[in-house]
């Protein structure tokens, strides 16, 4: 594809796989990082062999920071045809009864309000260029809730709703918006949880609950993102593609 994509949250486990996958299809990949500068620079070097690329530091709590990422991507690469929102707060798995207002505030600021900032900055740009696509990562937890996952699941559900709102309101400008909802994935937070939380027996029991009898790979989530970013999904908007091996069923 000729145009450029911009991935918010490109340095995490899922974000990195998404950037790699999109680099094989798009001419330019801009991605953001918050704290993992080294990982971002390594990824930038790797991607530069396959497409034009830029790693930019971004703070999703700051309008100006988000806006400047998109402006930079547009100026350097001539347009932003697709925006991917793959950022996630680094959270644990407390029960709702244990979550303090400040913890909610933190994840909602970075994820949900962060995504509203990205959308608000991207829409005028996409309207002006005659269209574009937005793909955000949600969670299978919206469809089958695992206890302890509220801090992650609640803002993710809102992110999906925002995608549907954008699909509805901006379709007339050729802008599509969809979500990908990963199940348990061997990357990013999913991998971290597998190492740090619960016993191996618990994870083994969980794996047997997945109809495909395995956890997913970051590359499999990235394929779904690539599909929704591309012309192959030209008539798909306002949808969520659940990539969970059937776990929620």
């Amino acid at each position: 594809m000729s145009g450029g994509v911009c991935v918010f949250g490109g340095s995490g486990g899922l974000g990195r796989a998404i950037c790699r996958r999109l680099a094989s299809e798009w001419s330019a990949v801009t991605f953001t990082y918050r704290s993992r500068r080294e990982q971002a620079e390594t990824l930038e070097r790797e991607l530069s062999a396959r497409c034009r690329t830029a790693a930019i530091h971004a703070d999703l709590r700051d309008d100006e920071s988000v806006g400047s990422v998109l402006r930079t991507a547009q100026e350097r690469f001539g347009g932003v045809d697709c925006v991917v929102f793959a950022t996630g707060a680094n959270i644990l798995q407390p029960y709702v009864s244990e979550i303090a207002a400040q913890q909610w505030d933190e994840v909602v600021q970075v994820e949900l309000i962060g995504f509203t900032r990205v959308v608000r900055a991207a829409l005028p740009l996409m309207r002006a260029q005659g269209g574009g696509t937005i793909v955000a990562l949600g969670s299978f937890a919206t469809y089958s809730f695992p206890p302890g996952d509220a801090l992650s699941a609640v803002p993710k559900a809102a992110i999906e709703m925002l995608c549907r709102a954008v699909a509805r309101e901006e379709g007339r400008y050729g802008i599509r918006a969809n979500a990908v909802a990963p199940g348990i994935i061997n990357a990013g937070l999913g991998e971290q949880f597998q190492q740090q939380l619960f016993s191996p027996e618990v994870w083994e029991a969980q794996r047997k609950r997945v109809p495909l009898r395995r956890f997913g790979e970051a590359e499999e989530v990235a394929e779904a993102v690539a599909f929704l970013a591309s012309r192959r999904s030209a008539y798909v908007t306002g949808q969520t593609l659940i990539v969970d091996g059937g776990l929620r069923l």
């Binding site: 989530v221 999904s233 008539y235 949808q239 593609l241």
Partner: protein, 263 residues
């Protein structure tokens, strides 16, 4: 990749067969092997010729899926021709226009026989082949499976049953490595809907009702089916993908909120 496509003589099935043939050719690997099944023999042969021109290995199987023994025959034909099977696209469907008060028992049974039962029988017959290849199944459902659609009483119900049938397969056959998904088309211009969408006035009105302001094309559906069928979707099972241009987000505008008809 060897695949069965039912309802392949026209519309979404035809577009899917072409898409699979072209995807295989553009990836430069082995040519696609596609068994085309439909009741319409002449049109089936036309599609087969088009596929061969794309470099694919195409076989045809004339089959009436209202006959409960037909699905196993389709799978057997593919087994004979290709020696195995990687994918099943269960796409054949009938629309059966009648309100629930006017619907005859025969038409009701026919809708469920083709729109629902045939997918179970095809998939059951294909199960050993798909378990051997770790293959996948995609069935064509409908937006009508999600939203009641007068006067398509039996159609909507049979497509809703189809989605649950496929989710059931996903759970039962996931451990065998078989993925099972559905695509739900919204308004799509095919032979089935030609009377409606070849009329410019009706077409414009339909387009105006969806956020993307267009009526879908068979290839829009084919692209989604091809994605779910392929290893690109290796961790997706039991999913239904609505390919409707956002039509399903339009309930509140249709009920009078906002100003959906501007522009």
């Amino acid at each position: 990749m060897s695949v069965i496509v039912t309802g392949a003589a026209s519309g979404i099935g035809r577009a899917t067969a072409l898409r699979l043939a072209r995807d295989a050719a553009s990836r430069g690997g082995k040519p696609a092997k596609i068994l085309l099944a439909d009741i319409a023999k002449d049109k089936l042969e036309e599609v087969a010729s088009l596929l061969r021109a794309e470099g694919a290995h195409a076989e045809v199987c004339v089959s009436d899926l209202t006959d409960p023994s037909a699905p196993a025959g389709v799978v057997e034909a593919a087994h004979r021709a290709f020696g195995g099977l990687d994918g099943l696209v269960s796409n054949a469907g009938i629309i059966g226009r009648a309100s629930l008060l006017d619907l005859t028992l025969t038409d009701y049974e026919r809708s469920f026989a083709i729109n629902t039962r045939a997918t179970w029988l095809l998939a059951r017959a294909a199960h050993p082949l798909l378990a051997a290849s770790k293959g996948s199944i995609v069935a064509t459902a409908s937006i009508s499976a999600h939203e009641p659609t007068p006067p398509l009483g039996a159609y909507s119900a049979s497509k809703a049953a189809l989605i649950m049938l496929v989710r059931q397969m996903a759970v039962e056959w996931g451990p065998d490595g078989i993925r099972c998904n559905t695509v739900s088309p919204g308004s799509t211009h095919t032979a089935m809907t030609d009377a409606r969408y070849s009329d410019p006035v009706q077409r414009a009105a339909a387009a105006q009702r969806s956020p993307l302001r267009t009526v879908g094309l068979p290839d829009n559906q084919a692209a989604a089916i091809a994605f779910l069928l392929s290893p690109d979707a290796a961790y997706i099972t039991g999913a239904d993908l609505l390919v409707d241009g956002g039509l399903s987000t339009m309930l509140m505008p249709a009920s009078g909120f906002g100003d959906p008809w501007r522009r």
